[in-house]
Amino acid sequence: MTLRAIVSSVLCVLSVAAHADGKVVVYNWAEYIPEGVLEQFTEKTGIKVEYSTYDNNETMYAKLKLQNGKGYDIVVPSTYLVSRMRKEGLIQPIDHARLTNYKHLDPDLLDKPYDPGNQYSIPYLWGSTAIGVNSDDIDPASITGWADLWDEQWRGKLLLIDDMREVFHMAYKINGVSTNTTDPAQIEQAYEKLKTLMPNVLVFNADAPREPFLAGDVSLGMLWSGEASMAQEENAAIEYVYPSEGAGFWIDNFVIPAGAENVENAHKFLDFMLRPEVAKQAVEEIGYATPNLTARDLLDEETRNNPIIFPSADVVKAGEFQEDIGEEANALMNDYWEKLKSGQ
């Protein structure tokens, strides 16, 4: 406790120096905003944007936790982290009255258990985790489910997303349990299953998993929907297969940290990002699905009907959305995760 107080007070002193009016500090996933949007926002509102990025939820959470929810005005956690941050008082309620564009959002993606009534979070983009296949090297029809990645012929060939929850999801689905399980026995079973997958793994990647596919270093592995659709623009041979056992789904949400210094500007930024034309641009450039219904109608037919971006209702039903699993299960999974990454 004292240690954290010392560290955070040092950081406070540092951040006071940076305090100024007319800005908003945004901390977002890498490659997760359409080009030019920040400039447009500054042009329209006169508010400067200080922008930085992270490549996994845990890094962002650790920083925010360390700084007691100060230092940033907008961050973009995935669903399971929203509920944790809400419980820990790390984020503050969002004033819906100040968001004129809230009405565009799809009611199907609102009011979920991780944040009832969306008091603390506004969905930004959602997507899936499934299997990427380079059809130049591998027949996509031969890959139908997560279990196919365990085949011995892929020894030292696979790409896995460098994210604990995503990797465990595969084993949970093969074992037929929920991706949000907290049962130690089920977690251990999943670890035992994943242990046998490790010899097949060539690389873990979470900042741009499409890159090794495009560079020709891997032809098979886990992939995010947005990465898959971006990859297809460069190389049409890269296909996206929804596994029969069920893909992983998540929603990334805008939240305002409890210690945000520019709350007013954060709301303006949120409202700007909810504009249908901005949301449309996000789908087109980043390749993930938008919860913005008006924006969906603005998209051209090809994008709107792209199964990578907007999966069918059946695919969504077969998959599962991630939720918070609590500290205990998390710590247990972390231990196994370290072992897996060390090849044990």
Partner: protein
Amino acid sequence: MRFRQLVITVTLAWLALFVLAPHILVLLTSLLSPDTQQLASYPFTMQSYTRLWEPVYASAFWQSFWLSLLTTVICLLIGYPFAWTLARLPKLPRALLLFLMMVPFWTNSLIRTYAIKLILGAKGLINSTLLSLGLIDTPLQLLYTPFAVIFGLVYILLPFMVLPLVTTFSKLDNRLLEAARDLGATPWQRFVQVILPLSMPGVIAGSLIVFLPAMGMFYVSDLLGGAKNLLLGNIIKNQFLVVRDWPFGAALSITLIVLMGLLLWFYVQANRRINRQGGLDDNAL
């Protein structure tokens, strides 16, 4: 005299604030209990240190140790003859070559590591050359292997091996070599009995400043080794950023520091022995 006092005070204050204080914080953190809510909490415990003996970390430690050792040996094998040749050159070409060796340092090592990725990839420089020469039919798996990590580490750390060796060699007294020749020593005898013992301080200094950073360079194994836990640095980074077990991350850091201390102690001892045997002293480095 007052200037001297000022310089000493400023240096000491700097070291106390930015070296001593953070290390004490790391040491204290390593003795606290893990707490994902508060990052670390009371009571004081040795729990993090006992965890070091868990097989997963012990084996990761050995793996890291061997990778770093191999890197050091390769740097030495390449750096030793190179430094010898360099030290024998006339002043101007030597200065030029040393300068050329330093030029890559003007570019951030992270960016150079990304460049190595492009060179080693399946469609990279090496594979496309070998393919077009018809030497191989399918691309070699170079990237995301321990080989790639060692390649990257050797590339980044080689100058740190060469520099102390060049200094040692250029201070080497030529008359000793002439005397050895006059007394009938073969080239091999001259190398083993004169040059090698005299260059030991350079060898040890170079090996230390290659070996220790190699254990911690997590970004090299993240980028070139496929983000598997290959180096101690990867595990430390994960403990702080992903797992949020700060005490354990701190305990790992402390272990690395202690190891560094032991190696430095070994260096001092070795130097003393060399001195007793009539070799170079530390001032000649």
